[in-house]
C-alpha cells in the first residue's frame, strides 16, 4: 500500500511567519504534488515535481515555493504566511506517466492568524 504522510494534521501560524509543510511518500513515486482545498473551489494545484530538484508551477503558485531534495520528500514553503493562505493543504504522489492516479496524504489544516 502506498503511504503518503504529512508532517502535521493541524497547524496554527501568525501572519508573516515562514511555514514549512512536509510530505513523504514511501513508494518511490517520481511525481509529487501540492494542492490546497477550499470550500466550493475543490482542489487547486500549487506546485508539482516530476523528479528530484525539478518543479513546475501549478494554477496558484503565488506566495508559495517548494523544495524536492530527495525523491521521497516534497516540501511546501510559505515564505510569509498571510490570512488568505488559511486552508487545507493536500500532498499527493504518483508514478511517472500516471499523473492521473494520485495517492493523497491526510492533509494539513493550516490556520494563519
Amino acid at each position: 500500500d502506498v503511504k503518503v504522510t504529512q508532517s502535521s494534521r493541524y497547524l496554527v501560524k501568525r501572519t508573516g511567519e515562514k511555514v514549512f509543510l512536509e510530505c513523504v511518500q514511501d513508494m518511490d513515486h517520481e511525481n509529487m504534488f501540492w494542492y490546497r482545498q477550499d470550500p466550493g473551489l475543490g482542489l487547486r494545484l500549487i506546485y508539482f515535481s516530476y523528479d528530484v530538484k525539478m518543479k513546475e508551477k501549478g494554477d496558484i503558485p503565488e506566495g508559495y515555493s517548494v523544495s524536492r531534495e530527495k525523491k521521497e520528500r516534497f516540501s511546501l514553503i510559505l515564505e510569509s504566511a498571510s490570512t488568505n493562505q488559511t486552508s487545507m493543504y493536500l500532498c499527493a504522489s504518483s508514478l511517472r506517466g500516471r499523473g492521473n492516479e494520485q495517492f493523497f496524504g491526510p492533509g494539513t489544516r493550516l490556520t494563519v492568524l
Binding site: E101, Q102, F104, P106
Partner: protein, 113 residues
C-alpha cells in the same frame, strides 16, 4: 475557459443507483478521466479511471461518450458509507496550449437510510 464542471450536491437513498456527471469540454486528446472519493478529514482516494466507452471495477462504473466531453460515474446500490465528496480529474487543454491536470469542484453525495 477550460474547466471541469460537476453538480454541487446530490441526494440518494440506500440501495439506489447514483450517477454523477462531470463536463470537461476541453479535455486533452490523450488524457484519461479519473474519479476520486473523499471522506471528511481524509485525502481523496482513487476510485476508477477510463479513456473511452465504459470501465467497471468492484466499486463503480465509468461511462464516457465518444466525444469525451463528459463522463459519468455510476455507483450501483449505494449505502450510507458512500456518503462522500466525489471529484473528477481530467487533463485540459488550456488557452496557452499547455495541458493542465484539473480537478472538478466536487459533488457532495448524501445517502439517506
Amino acid at each position: 475557459l477550460a474547466k471541469t464542471t460537476q453538480p454541487i450536491s446530490m441526494d440518494s437513498y440506500e440501495g439506489q443507483e447514483v450517477n454523477i456527471t462531470c463536463s470537461h469540454n476541453n479535455i486533452a486528446t490523450n488524457d484519461y478521466i479519473t474519479w476520486y472519493q473523499q471522506f471528511p478529514s481524509q485525502g481523496p482516494r482513487f476510485i476508477i479511471q477510463g479513456y473511452k466507452t465504459k470501465v467497471t471495477n468492484e466499486v463503480a462504473s465509468l461511462f464516457i461518450p465518444a466525444d469525451r466531453k463528459s463522463s459519468t460515474l455510476s455507483l450501483p446500490r449505494v449505502s450510507l458509507s458512500d456518503t462522500a465528496v466525489y471529484y473528477c480529474l481530467v487533463g485540459l487543454k488550456m488557452d496557452t496550449g499547455r495541458r493542465a491536470l484539473t480537478f472538478g469542484s466536487g459533488t457532495r453525495l448524501q445517502v439517506q437510510p
